[in-house]
Symmetry: C2
Subunit: 237 residues, 2 copies
């Protein structure tokens, strides 16, 4: 995190503590997401069950960090610039908690899919989507850890690739469903998992937007993000 | 909002201003959700287009209220109890903004569905789900307006009914898809709309949890909410 001459060392320590706690929470969420994807791909019922149960710890960490941030604002009464950093942490953990919820949902669907042993295909596509989402989440946490707005900008662009992959999976699911109507139920579960992965990308994008906002002190959310995405696309082509 | 003897009149005015702005934003989001549902049910392409475009105003309001809250915390440096009220507003608008996103998504799917003229059935079921979601959102904003924790507790229970309705629609969709595989693509769009409505219920639940948290000054999120839901179910049976 950058140095601010105008804030006390004690406040720096407070920020460092918040940052470490958010990163611990992020690490746990990352593990849950990875396990959720593995349980889905490998049809690993035991792992899926573990993932579905692991979310309570994420929720607990959110509550604790939220309280820590509130106490620090009340006690240190930071000026607007520093306040933004703490408010960023409060928002980041909300999205991390929701990513945890999505991992839990994937775990639940993976449990049912493993028990049904239905052939739904889509292994390669889900793997690709899973890898893109895991990588985006990892880079997001990294951008937060270093409060690196330019990295966060780049990560925002990755969400387009995830949306594209999700659209591709949706189209494939439709053909598969038409070909094998008896597997529709299972394939609908696969589609919920794909949707959850796509949502994780959206939450990672939110976190990146908070980082950019926090660093630049101006609001790049919403309107400007579309511009960033377009620039990213034009650089790729 | 309750009176707090220890805070200044000016701070009361600030809170009142935040409250009014959040309620304006809530009113706009409510309208967008209602229009999204109508456009879906009536296959009204013009209205669907309007909904898909209306979200920018919601985003703009979120940015403005977020800034207002940050400035008030920085300027007034409220104590922990009052600070919680402002932080509640910051979190409430995040969920309102995401509800707006879901309305926008429904609008986009409704646009395509209207243009395809595919028969997907489910009119009655979507209407029921839409009404439950609209009603929950309305009660949620009411609980926030009056900072009424016991009303918020009741509203949290409503989410169970929405989840049940969503599950019912998902089961019906599977049968419909099996019966008419050529309509699978359109029915998948209907399922995304149902999913978005269900998500709106989740966001409304989040807002209720913030209200309860703000009033009781203790964190009832996550763990205790399951208890509240169970109590609600047992009272209904």
């Amino acid at each position: 995190m950058e140095n601010h001459d105008h804030i006390s060392n004690q406040f720096d320590n407070d920020l460092e503590s918040i940052r470490n706690h958010v990163l611990s929470m992020g690490g746990l969420v990352e593990t849950n997401v990875k396990n959720a994807i593995t349980s889905l791909l490998e049809r690993d019922q035991a792992l899926a069950e573990e993932v579905a149960k692991a979310d309570f710890k994420v929720n607990q960490m959110e509550v604790e960090i939220d309280e820590e941030c509130t106490q620090i604002i009340a006690r240190r009464q930071p000026a607007a610039g520093d306040l933004r950093l703490v408010l960023t942490a409060i928002k980041v953990i909300t999205d991390l908690e929701r990513i945890g919820d999505e991992a839990e949902k994937i775990g639940r669907y993976a449990q049912t899919l493993a028990s049904k042993k239905a052939k739904t295909g889509m292994h390669l596509e889900l793997q690709t989507l899973g890898e893109k989402v895991s990588s985006m989440l990892n880079k997001t946490l990294d951008a937060f850890a270093r409060m690196d707005a330019s990295q966060a900008m780049e990560v925002v662009g990755l969400d387009i690739r995830i949306d594209e992959e999700f659209d591709r999976i949706s189209r494939l699911l439709v053909s598969h469903m038409m070909e094998e109507p008896k597997n529709i139920k299972s394939m609908l579960r696969v589609s919920w998992c794909a949707r959850s992965l796509e949502r994780i990308g959206d939450h990672a994008q939110n976190i990146c937007e908070y980082v950019i906002y926090s660093v630049h002190g101006e609001d790049v959310r919403h309107a400007d993000i579309d511009k960033v995405k377009k620039e990213y696309l034009s650089k790729q082509e």
